[in-house]
Amino acid sequence: MNNISPTKTPVLKVENLEAWYGESHILHGMSFDVREGEVVTLLGRNGAGKTTTLRSIMGIVETRTGTIEINGKSALSVPAHKISPLGIAYCPEERGIYKSLTVRENLMLPPVIAPGGMSVDEIFDLFPNIAERLNSGGGNLSGGEQQMLAIARILRTGCRLLLLDEPTEGLAPVIVQAIGRVLKMLKARGYTILLVEQNFRFASTVADRHYVVEHGQVIDEIANSDIGRESARLHEYLGI
């Protein structure tokens, strides 16, 4: 693996991460890092361990070994509710909008971890649909609205490192474009993003680097500027 990372300090460092769901051993020594201000993707086929990696970082998968460092602090042995305060926020694949909460309650649920998060007004400018549906039940939103709410609520927290699990999955092209614009805006504002994506074409429009994941390991790293040259390799990895 050639070292193509910029030389900034890693805000997320994962080394030799192993993780288990019950008896099944899912991650077999994941290693990668994400540096400040970067957008990095985990690419790979279904079942490669991308989602499990994010869930292990957040402590949702509890049985894990290795190293996870967030802003220089170990996240491996702290209780799950103390991981986000290290400066990290997570948007799950299934969006995780609470049906028993209104849209407003969903938006306001995550506590502010650090100053500098987006104000509610900024969020409404970014996602006008959410402003219109504040009093609806969380379960009444469309898939696209749920995705926007799931991103919006973590932007309030002031966390600068975001884990986004397939934010474009199952959404209409116009909404995928809108989410792409949001990610570019976040990048321009200096947010650091670790993105899990199946939609490689989407990923290539926002990312700086890609890690290819297979069988619970990182098997390759490709700079976004090299993807033209490396397309044959990617085809082989991803079957696209």
């Binding site: 957040m58 402590g59 949702i60 209780p79 799950a80 509710h81 103390k82 991981i83 986000s84 305060p85 926020a89 997570y90 799950p92 995780g96 609470y98 049906k99 028993s100 909460l101 209104t102 309650e105 306001m108 649920l109 995550p110 506590p111 971890i113 973590i154 927290t157």
Partner: protein, 294 residues
């Protein structure tokens, strides 16, 4: 004046008793629903906690001279603290286990609590006097209303709807609902879910103890007062819909009244009617009156 051949005084008397019982059912099933929602534990100790509330009220009076009003505050507080201690030390050990373990553990706790009171105080029941301010009654024209019984109905309605308000309309409540619906994700936002769980266990058992204090002047203080009630309360929770707050409150009062009316029209069925009702509801709406389909 008669309704279906029943004098209205008798009818209203039974409706009042139904409302009182309904108030106890509602407060107890509310606590059970809260605990089940967040801890995923069916708290079989709930009836024993209600008993303990009545005993603590009596003990406060007997040994410290603290009367009814003080007991209404201190007995639930003391029991909630004991509950918080037990949750931290014992109950929290079994969250990852099958439901059956929670049932066995809390049933064991119930047997220990009730057995302890029975051993020390016997089963004959200890009278607990009405507070002076609430003794006597008023004639409403169509019935005679003992003031204490009216007080129990009003207080239980107030307590139930205050709890409902906190759960459904406040920030703390929305955090609790989130932790109930998806604890793992809620933790990932940095919310201290284990502390919420402890808080809710304390609140649930505190409510049961509060009901016990309310009941002491009506039913006497008896080691078995809770186990007589708890089976009905479980039926109420099932009818309302497991984990539904409003369901627990409304079906608590509803079933109290249904039970009271059955006593008027066909007394032999009065103990059975709740379970017949439960079976019918489960056939028509398996998730309960207010439950969401899983």
């Amino acid at each position: 004046m008669d309704i279906f051949g029943v004098p209205i005084q008798a009818l209203m008397g039974q409706v009042l008793i139904g409302l009182i019982n309904g108030g106890f059912y509602a407060i107890l099933s509310l606590g059970l629903a809260l605990i089940f929602g967040l801890l995923n534990i069916i708290n079989f100790a709930h009836g024993a906690v209600y008993t303990a509330g009545a005993f603590v009220a009596w003990l406060l009076l007997e040994h410290l001279g603290i009367g009814y009003w003080g007991a209404l505050l201190f007995a639930p507080g003391i029991i909630a603290l004991i509950g918080i201690f037990l949750e931290k030390t014992v109950v929290s050990q079994i969250y990852r286990q099958d439901h059956l373990y929670g049932l066995l553990l809390t049933y064991g706790m119930a047997l220990i609590i009730e057995g302890g009171f029975r051993q020390v105080y016997g089963v004959s029941g200890i009278p607990y006097n009405l507070p002076a301010a609430l003794s006597g009654g008023v004639n409403l024209g169509f019935m005679y209303l003992p003031i204490y019984r009216g007080w129990v109905v009003v207080v239980s309605i107030l307590v139930c709807f205050s709890v409902w308000y906190v759960i459904e309309r406040t920030k703390l409540g929305s955090t609790l609902r989130a932790a109930t619906e998806n604890p793992a994700l809620t933790k990932s936002f940095g919310i201290n879910v284990p502390r919420l769980i402890t808080l809710i266990y304390g609140l649930g058992v505190g409510l049961a103890a509060f009901a016990g204090v309310l009941a002491a002047p009506i039913y006497q203080v008896n080691p078995l007062m809770g186990s007589n009630l708890i089976i009905v309360v479980f039926a109420v929770v099932v009818i309302g819909g497991m984990g539904s707050i409003m369901g627990a409150i409304l079906s608590g009062f509803l079933l109290g009244i249904i039970e009271g009316l059955t006593k008027v029209f066909y007394p032999p069925a009065s103990h059975l009617v709740i379970f017949i009702f439960m079976a019918a509801i489960l056939l028509i709406r398996p998730a309960g009156l207010f439950g969401r389909k899983q």
